[in-house]
Structures are given as C-alpha cells and as structure tokens.
Symmetry: C2
Subunit: 699 residues, 2 copies
C-alpha cells in the first residue's frame, strides 16, 4: 500500500470527527434567554470582526498574488506558487473561522452544562476545543495532500528527483500563505482581545470599581469577542501555520538529504498517524461527575500522553518501513522532538503556575508595590528562557547527529526538521486541550452577565484556570516547534540559493560564516526585528486600549442610569472601535515581516539574509519565551493573590498584581505568540523570493 | 621619532592634568559644618564599600591568578598572562577608586559653589568629572605602554613577526583582567546604588510621603554612597575596560592583517592624540556667570565636538604617516567609528530626553496608570534598538570595506576594531561630561539634607538634569564601542584558534557557519546569556532593595521622634546592608561570564564558542540598548511630569510615572551597563582559554 495515502485518509477522518464533535456540542441547550442573547451578541461581534479582517487581508493577498504572478511569469518562481500561496492563506483563515464558529456556539452551552456539574462543563468545552484541533490538522492535511498529488501528477513527465524538488518547493509557498494569514490573525486578533481586555479593566475594575465581566461595563462584550477572535481564531490560524510549516519545511529538505519521495512520505504520514492517535486520545478525557479540578487536569493530560505514546510506538514502524534500518536515526530525531516538546511544556508550567515557587515568589513581590512586581516578572521571564534554549539546543544536536551522523550534513538538517514534525504530531489533541480555555473563559463571562448562581461561576472559573495550565503547555509546543521549523527553513533557504546559483551558473559564493560582514550585520538586524515587532504590537495594544478607555469613560458619563443598572451600555460601539483599531494596527507589523527580507536582501545580499534569519530566530525565540512566561506568571500570581494570599482581592498587593497582569496581557497574548509566526514568515518569504533577492542584491 | 612614544607621554600628560584638576577642586570650600559632616558620611560609606569590594574581588583574582599560572606552566599560555591579568584588574579598580575619591570630595564643594551661581557649580562638578576622565585614559595608556615596552624588550631576540604576535596576545589578558574587575565593579556597584535608591524611594517617597533625599530617611546616605560606588567607581572601571579593550583587541588583529608593529602603533597613538584633544576640549567648557541651562549644555557639547574634530584631523596625518596612503582606508574606518558614536549618542538622547516626542508620549501614558507606563516604556526601549543596530551595522560594513576593500578579510576586521578605538578616542572628555552627573546628583542630596536655600537645590537639580542628557550620550558610546570591540574579539578568538591548530598540527576544522550545528546551538545559548544575566542582576537589586525596605520600615517604627526630626536615623546600618548584599549578589552573575565559555567550549567545542560569542554580542547589544533607553525615558518622563505636566508632582499620573522610574532603575544603572562588559568578558575569556578549550572540548 502507498503509505502516503494515509495523509488524505487522516484528513478526512479528522474532519469527520470534527463534524461529529460539533454535532454533539450543538445538541446541548444554550440555556436561558438571557444567556442566548449574550451569546448571540458575542457571536455577532466575532463574525463582524472576522468578516472585516478577511476583507482587509483579501486585499493583501490579492496584491501578493499579483506580485508572485509577475515574478512567476518572469521565471523567478514556478507558476503554481501564487496559487499555492492563496490556498495556504485560505485554509489557515478557514481553520480560525471554524474554530471561532464552534467556540462562539459552545460558550453559553458550557455555562449551561456547568450548572449541572464541573465535568459536564468540561465535556462541552473540551468537545468544542476538539473541533478546533481536528479542523486544523484536517484542513492542513487536506491542503498538503491536494497540492502534493496535484503537483506530482502535473510534473509526471519529469525525472523523479527533479519532480520531487519542484513539488516540495511549490509547497513551501503554500506555507508562506499560511504564515501570512496567521500573522494577520494573531496580530489583529491579539490587538483586539488585549485592547478590549485592558481597556475594560482599566476603567471598569480600576476606576469604577465594578467586577470583571460586569454587564454594566460597555467593553464587556468586546472583551468576550476578543477571546474568540484572538485566542481562538488567531491561535487556530497560528497553529495551522506551525503544522503545515513543519511538514513543508521537512519535505523541502528531503531532496538535499537524498531521501526523495520517502523523505516527504515520512512527515505526511507522521501527521496522519498523529490524527488517529489524537482521536484515540480524546476518548480518554473523561472523569466522574463529581470529579475535582486536579482529576480533570489529570484527565486532559492522560489524553495527550496516550496520544504521544501511540505516536512514539507507531512512528518507529513507519520509519523502519519507509526508510529502513539504515535511517532509523530519523525515528530518534522524531522522538527527541516529541520529548523536547514535553519538557518545554513542563517547564513552562513550572515557571507560570502558582503551584510552583517562581510564581509564588512573584506574588510575594506585590507586597512592595507594582514596581517590584514588574521587576520580578521580567526577571522571571528572562530567567525562564534558559531551559527552552538548552532543551531546543539539545534537540537540535540530538536530531542532527542521530539522523545524520557526524558526516551527513543534509540528513542532519532533515533530522532537525522532522523533530519539529514530531513535536507537533500530537497537535490534534494538544490544541483541543488548549482551545477549550477561551471557551471556558467566555462561559464564565456569560455566567456573570446573566446572573447565574455563584456556584456556576466558580465552576467556569475552575475550568478557566485549568485552561491556563494547558495553554502554557500548548505555548511550549508552539514556541519550540517554531524554533526548529525556522532552522529548517534557513537550511531550505541556503539550499535554494545554492540550487539557483548552480542552475543559473551565477558567480556567487555562499558564505554564512558569522564573521562574514554581511552575515554578521544580518545577525544584528535579525536580532533586532523581534524587538521592533514586539514594540509595534505592544504600542498598538496601548493605543487601541486608550480609545476603549475614552469610550467607556464617555458612556459612564453620558448614559444616564447605567451604573444603577437601569440603562444598557452601547456594547456595539466598543466592538466596533476594537475592530477598526485592530484592522488598522495590524498592517505595519505584518508588512515588516514581508519587507524586511527583501530590504536586507537588497542591501546585504543572501548571506546577509541568512544572518538575518538566524538572528531573528535566536532573539525571537528567546523573546517569545520570555514574554509568554512573564505574562503567564503575572496572570497566575494575580490569581494566587485572589485566592486569599497576601491580603487577597482588593488589597494593595492585589492592585499591584493587577498592574503586572495588565502588562502581561499584550506580552502573552499579542506580542509573544506573534513572534513565533514572524520568524517563520521571514524565512518563508526569503525562500520564496530567493531567486529575486539574488537578482537585485547589491552584494 | 618613534610615534609610539606618544602613548607614555599621553599617559603622563593625562595624569598630570588630572592631578592639576583635582588640586583646583580641592581648593574650594566644603561649606558649612553640616555639609562637611554629610559629605564625610558619604565618603566613609563609599570607602568602606570599596574596601570590602576590593577584598572580595582580591580573592577572585588570586584564584584566577593561580588557574592562569597553572595553565601557563602547562604550556597553554605564556608566562606573562597571569601577571598581565592582575595589572589589568588592578588599574581598572584604581580608575574607579580615584574617580570615587574625587567625586566624594567634590559633592559638597559643588553644593557650596552652586550657592554662588549655576556656572560655578558646573565648574567644580565638571572639574571632578575631568579628573575621572583623565585618570581612566591616563592609567589605561600607562598600563598599555608598560606592557608593550616590557614585552617587546623581553622578546627582543624573537623574529619581529613572532615578537609582535606574542606581545599582543599577552596584552589581551590584561584586557581580561580589566573586564573582570569592571564586571564586579559595575554589578556590585549597580546593585548597591539601585537597592539603596529603590529601597529609599519605596518606603520614603511612597509609604511615608517624605521628599527625596530627606534626612529623616535612614537610607538616604546609602543612596548617596550608591551614586559614588555605582555611577562613579563602577563606570570608571567599566570605561577603563572599554578603552583598553578596544586598543588591545585592535592590536591583536594587527598581526593577521599583516601590519605588524604599525598596526599596534595606530590605536596606541590614536589614544594619545585623544588625550591631548580632550585636554584642549576641556578649556572650551565655560560659560558666563549668569548662563542658562541650555547654554551650559552647549558649553559641554562644544568641548566634546572640538575634541572630536581635532582627532578627526590629526588621525588622518597619523594614518598617512604610519601606514601610508595605501592604507588610508584605516583612517576612514576610524572616522566611521567616531561618526557612529555621535549618531548613536544623538538618538539615545532623542529617545530618552523629554525635549522630544518619544519621552513626552511616554509621559502621557501615565494618565491611564502604571500598567500603560510600563507597556509604553518597554515598547519605546524595544523600538529604540533599531537605530543603534542599523548604525553599528553600517559602521561595521563601512569600516570593514573601507579598511580592507572587498578582498582583504583580515584588514577588514582590523578596520572594525579600529572603528571602536575611534569611537572611544574622545573618552577623556566624554567621560568628564558623563562623570560630573553623579557629583551633581550628590550635591543636590547634600543641599537638601543640609537645608540650603531652595535656589541652591534648584541649581543642583539643573546640573543633575544636564547630567542625565550627557549620560545618555556617554551610554551611546559605551554600548556602540562594546559591540564593535566584541566583534573584534570574536575575530581574535578565531585567529587564535587557527594559530594554535596550525602550530600544534591539530586535526580540527574551524567551521563557524551559522548552519553548523554546534555554532548554531552556540548562537542560541549565547543569545540567552544576556537575558539570564539581566535576570540575575535585576532580581539581586529586588532582593537587596527588599532588605532595605524592611530596615527603613523598622527604623521608622522603632526610633522614637524620627519622623518629627528629633532623632537621627541609623544611616550606617543601611550602608552596611547595601554593602553586604551587593558583595553577595555580584558573585553569581560575574561567575556566569567566566564559566559560560568554558562550559560551552567543553560541550560544543570552539565552533560552539564562536557561535555563543556572536549570539551574546547580538542579543546583549540589543538588550543593553533597550534597557538603557527604557530606563532613561522612564526617568525623564517622571521628571517631565514633575515639571508640571499631566497634574505634576503628587498626582496619580506622577505616581504611575514613579513606578516606571523605579522599574527603570535596575534597567539603566545595573543590568543594562553590565551587559556591555559581559559580552566583552565572554570574548576575552574565550581568547585567553582558547588553547585549553581546544584541549578539553568534546567536539
């Protein structure tokens, strides 16, 4: 049997399972009329946002399509590149869209189920998360399979080695489309959600002294919409990009490694195996009706670990079957990726969960005011970068030498690339445990706004805090795999350059020594890009939040009877302000990622671009980890104080911790996760435009 | 005439001029008995601290001396290395010590002179700063000349090419001694000063509501001592290290560039010319008695620009004379360094001064509370990294290609190294304009504590704020030159490795391509080190400040009549707590810098070490700029609000801005400046231990 057929089969399985899970969620009731009304408002806001976002992004894609078409017609690219680019963007957006649809339909249903028990609430929210996880991997495999089979058919007359080369390099563009879409979705959604969150908190909690999610706060619906467009739609597009990015970058290295079609079969079928293992894993996520929180967490973990174990076992036979015992090192490369993901996930949790010392120590700094909370949180985040760096470093060395031995450079790089695929192979289920978090968060908001029994809110809060822990693990996977994939893409870039130089007989010497001045300067420029990018996204959140603050203050002042609960605030205006701001603000950071490789390529040549990619990957990885962990720790330090430590809610310590949490919001949900995409998009753009850069560069 | 003789001559001139300036300062009166008493307390505290610090550091130097001696006796190093290491450390420490002596003697004298006029105060403070500037360059040239002449004499029987090689590589160790001392001084002093500052502010200003520098605050003397041990002694040792580091790293590259002794003559005589130009420059720093602040700033700038112009002219003839027209590109490399320093200095000022938009915008974020101030400041700092990165990148390319053309790699690297010397050639006067700041700061403290006329305090405040502006420029030079010197040192490292491999006939291939796995992993590890290091120093400040907070709270509670001004606080205890904490806390970060290259060398080999150095230089440079600029902008945004904007002193905006300023304290005065030294020390250690690393490494 052709093992590659597993890819389309896996895709169909994933999508069918997603449809089934969506059906089970929709069977539940949305509860009282009040709950339905709020859920509808959130749904409408989210739909309106996505519609506007997709319209804006469509313009970008149209322009890029034309640019790519012109380049293709001038021989810089193959003719399928512009089309592959479009489908990548389309499916990435679709993943986010389906995830968001499901999430906005599941939030009130989760609240309603939570009236019954904690476990019932978990089931609904987790099922919604599973839909998202399965849609992402299903659409990813669908697109990959389609292009693979289509291109292989189209190039059927070519020599096998040339054919697979042409196929894999066209598929990379598909990754670039996905990355572009993901960046817009993450940045736009991230700005939206944090502007609404920060804006709502600054006026509501701090100035007016009303609780979180209070229906009197005009920004409260925007805040809930934000969870869906940022944490759900943004994350879906993001992880779709990570998933296909890791697979296409591995495939692209297969040719140089001398593996040919087999080298493409491995990552594609690995992904299919991951789908099946994830589906099996989800059946192990269940608990007794009266289960406690820790039991539920154990249930979620059980599902992930079982999937990982299944993959670890099956992929051995896969590598053995496809590549033979001679290349069994590739299996160990996969294993080292899988293991590295688990270790990074564990340490992310260690640094950000209030069950451990770092976050508890951070909570204690709140007794001396907000300044020490900020210093402590930044210091924690900076310190926490050491473990992921060492683990990723070890994974790179291990996968390189296990797959390639000391002598085979290209097999070694293939090993690094496949390690990322290994790390992401459990995505179906890890994304399910991750995506259920924002659903639970929304469910809590709906409970509050529809004045449910406090016990319901307590249960949704428990689900939400569970979601924080699983989100930390999910972020570990996303960041770790981004670093590995980016490295694979840098290798693809130099491969591509070498190929062009050879086929076109150019007089050019690739020299990516760190002491070659253009490479060195590229390293500096690349190292700076994530800082510049984070600055842009953070100040975008700041500016957008400022407009929300003004609007909420205005409504508090102008709408009579609002604070007494006699009049309704104008929720729609806040939703609209967030939408417009997010749209406007996402353009500059996204363009940076597209323009930087071209500009650096023009000024410093391809050696400079290689340096830039390495610099951006190193500093971006470190900065992303730091921002994610500082942000997570601030959030949980605040929650720890709210649980009654250091004076509890309303104390000065709590106020200091809220400052940390607010600073952490754009860190962990806007800038940090966007950096992952940035470093990959930079590399994708460089690979796709390699021939063009060689043509225009001054060096 | 042997131009090299200019070096010892310049050294003697600088030291004589320093002695003369010290004499003119000491002629002034220290003012009233009250002022004398306070100045004495500060002096005693600073002396006690330095004594304790030097004792602690002596142990470290003794251990390192023995280690180096053992390595030298086993043929890994020449026998002079341990001794050169000691003298580097000794003179670096001595620079800080003299600077501190002068500063603690000039503070009350500045206060007293400020009673007369703003200009009179400036003259005393600037003269004290000049002493520091001249001592640093004088001692630097003294040590350099001594070792150069001694080693040349000792190796007189060797072939000229081998001789200069042996001389320059022994002189590098002298740089390593200076860097080690500088790191201890910067980290220890930085922890001291910020712990005292933050601690004093948190309880005094925030909790008790008494003004800054109020004599009732038990930490107020410690705070003033801190300015001297951190901003003066620490900065002196730091810039001594930058100065000699840039010269020895250039010298070390002279051999590979094929310039021989002439390649050493250039940086040494450049430095001597800089001394003379700086002395001339100081005579242009004067203003009329009733001059305004802006006129004084112009006077300070005039001195620096005149010195720079003199150097720009004279060094043309120097390069022409020594290297001939064939190598006139070296002159343009020097010019590009000089120019890059000025541009970076200007942009540092742009981003951190409240005369410009960025800091004013930051001040406006204070209206929505401390969280937006923090987000705004971090964002500003991140954004501000782009200009220095681009300027340094341009300087690297310009100096490389101007000195070496497209083909001569080694001449190109020599050009990069000499650019750093060009940037630092005005150090005599830039340091003078920089070091006078803490003197003015202290003078303000003494004015407050001795209850002088508010007009006196207003004048010292004006001097202090002038100092903030010049300090920003000084930091630009320090950071920019650190990046260039570190790059030169990486080149020295690979040179040294290549030399050892060749002479010992080792079977080893130097491969520092960014895709060679050990180099790549080294890049990641190196990129992480400045983050880890900053985390350590920041949390050290946090912990030390916490102890001060506890102590001040205790004294406020236990000493009866303290708040009413009827009893004196126990200043000495706070001084002692700061001293002990700084001593304890400086060990771990400093050891990191020594141990990291050895550990990475053991695990990843010299290719990994080269990657680590590049990674640390890139991320360290960017992080240092970010921290310095965020910190500076927060400080000045607070000052801007205090000048009456957004509600002025005591308003909620002001409170929010104080949070930013407090977070900025360890950023700009502890972690940020220490990173400059860290990246150079990592490189120095790698160069000195290169032979040993080659021996022990697994790869």
């Amino acid at each position: 049997m052709d093992l590659l057929l597993l890819a389309p089969i896996g895709s169909v399985l994933a999508l069918l399972f997603a449809a089934y899970m969506a059906y089970t969620v929709m069977k539940h009731s949305e509860g009282t009329e009040d709950m339905q009304r709020i859920a509808r408002a959130v749904r409408e806001g989210a739909n309106a946002y996505l519609k506007r976002q997709y319209t804006g992004v469509a313009i970008f894609f149209a322009v890029m399509f034309v640019v790519l078409l012109i380049l293709a017609l001038n021989g810089f690219l193959t003719i399928f590149v512009p089309f592959a680019f479009l489908t990548g963007g389309f499916f990435s957006g679709l993943s986010g869209f389906f995830g968001m649809k499901m999430a906005t339909n599941a939030n009130a249903r989760t609240t309603n189920a939570a009236k019954q028990s904690l476990n019932a609430g978990l089931r609904v929210a987790f099922s919604a998360g599973t839909v998202m996880g399965m849609v992402v991997v299903g659409l990813g495999l669908l697109d990959l399979s389609f292009w693979y089979y289509f291109l292989t058919w189209f190039y059927r007359d070519l020599d096998a080695a040339v054919r697979i080369q042409s196929v894999t390099s066209a598929m990379l563009t598909f990754g670039m489309g996905a990355s572009s879409m993901a960046l817009f979705a993450r940045v736009g959604g991230g700005i939206y959600t944090k502007a609404a969150d920060v804006g709502a908190d600054l006026v509501g909690k701090v100035e007016a002294g009303i609780p979180e999610d209070d229906p009197r706060n005009p920004a409260v619906i925007a805040d809930n919409v934000g969870d869906n467009v940022g944490d759900v739609a943004g994350m879906g597009a993001d992880l779709y990009e990570s998933y296909v990015g890791s697979i296409v970058s591995t495939s692209a290295l297969a040719v140089a490694a001398g593996l040919g079609v087999d080298g493409v079969t491995i990552p594609m079928t690995m992904a299919a195996i991951g789908v099946i293992a994830s589906i099996i894993g989800t059946f192990f996520v269940h608990a007794k009706e009266d289960a406690k929180q820790s039991v539920l967490l154990a249930a979620l973990r059980r599902g992930t670990y079982i999937s990982a174990a299944l993959i670890a076992v099956i992929s051995f036979f896969l590598v053995w079957q496809v590549l033979g015992m001679e290349h069994i090192g590739v299996y160990f490369a996969i294993l080292s990726g899988l293991l590295a993901g688990v270790i990074i996930g564990y340490f992310t949790e260690y640094f950000t969960s209030d069950s451990y010392k770092p976050t508890r120590d951070l909570a204690s700094t709140s007794t001396t005011g907000p300044a020490t909370v900020i210093i402590g949180g930044l210091s924690l985040g900076m310190r926490s970068t050491s473990v992921p760096v060492i683990v990723v470093g070890a994974a790179v060395l291990a996968s390189y030498f296990l797959a390639g031995g000391a002598g085979d450079f290209n097999m070694g790089l293939y090993g690094v690339a496949i390690a990322a695929v290994g790390m992401l192979s459990t995505l179906g289920i890890t994304l399910a445990t991750d995506a259920y978090g924002p659903v639970a968060d929304n469910a809590g908001g709906i409970a509050e706004m529809s004045h449910q029994d406090p016990e319901v809110r307590r249960r949704t809060d428990a689900l939400d805090s569970l979601g924080n822990t699983t989100a930390a693990t999910g972020k570990g996977f996303a960041i770790g795999s981004a670093a590995l994939t980016a490295l694979a893409l840098i290798a693809s870039f130099t491969d591509e350059v070498a190929r062009i130089v050879q086929t076109q007989g150019l007089d050019f010497k690739l020299d990516i020594s760190i002491l070659n001045p253009p490479t060195l300067v590229g390293l500096f420029v690349g190292g700076m890009l994530p800082f510049l990018f984070s600055s842009m996204t953070m100040s975008a959140v700041g500016r957008a939040a400022q407009s929300i603050v003004m609007e909420v203050r205005r409504q508090f002042k102008e709408i009579k009877g609002l604070m007494e609960g006699k009049a309704e605030p104008d929720y729609a205006r806040c939703v609209d302000i967030c939408t417009r701001n997010a749209q406007k603000e996402m353009i500059a950071p996204a363009l940076t990622a597209i323009v930087a490789p071209l500009l650096v390529g023009f000024l410093l040549g391809v050696n400079g671009v290689a340096g830039m990619l390495a610099g951006a990957t190193v500093s971006g990885f470190i900065l992303a980890v730091m921002m994610a962990n500082s942000g997570g720790a601030w959030d949980n330090a605040k929650k720890y104080i709210e649980s009654g430590e250091y004076g509890g809610k309303g104390s000065d310590s709590h106020k200091a911790a809220v400052v940390g949490d607010t600073v952490g919001d754009p860190f962990k949900d806007t800038s940090g996760p966007s950096i992952n995409i940035l470093i990959k998009l930079l590399s994708m753009v460089s690979v796709v435009f390699a021939a063009f850069i060689l043509q225009i560069s001054l060096f």
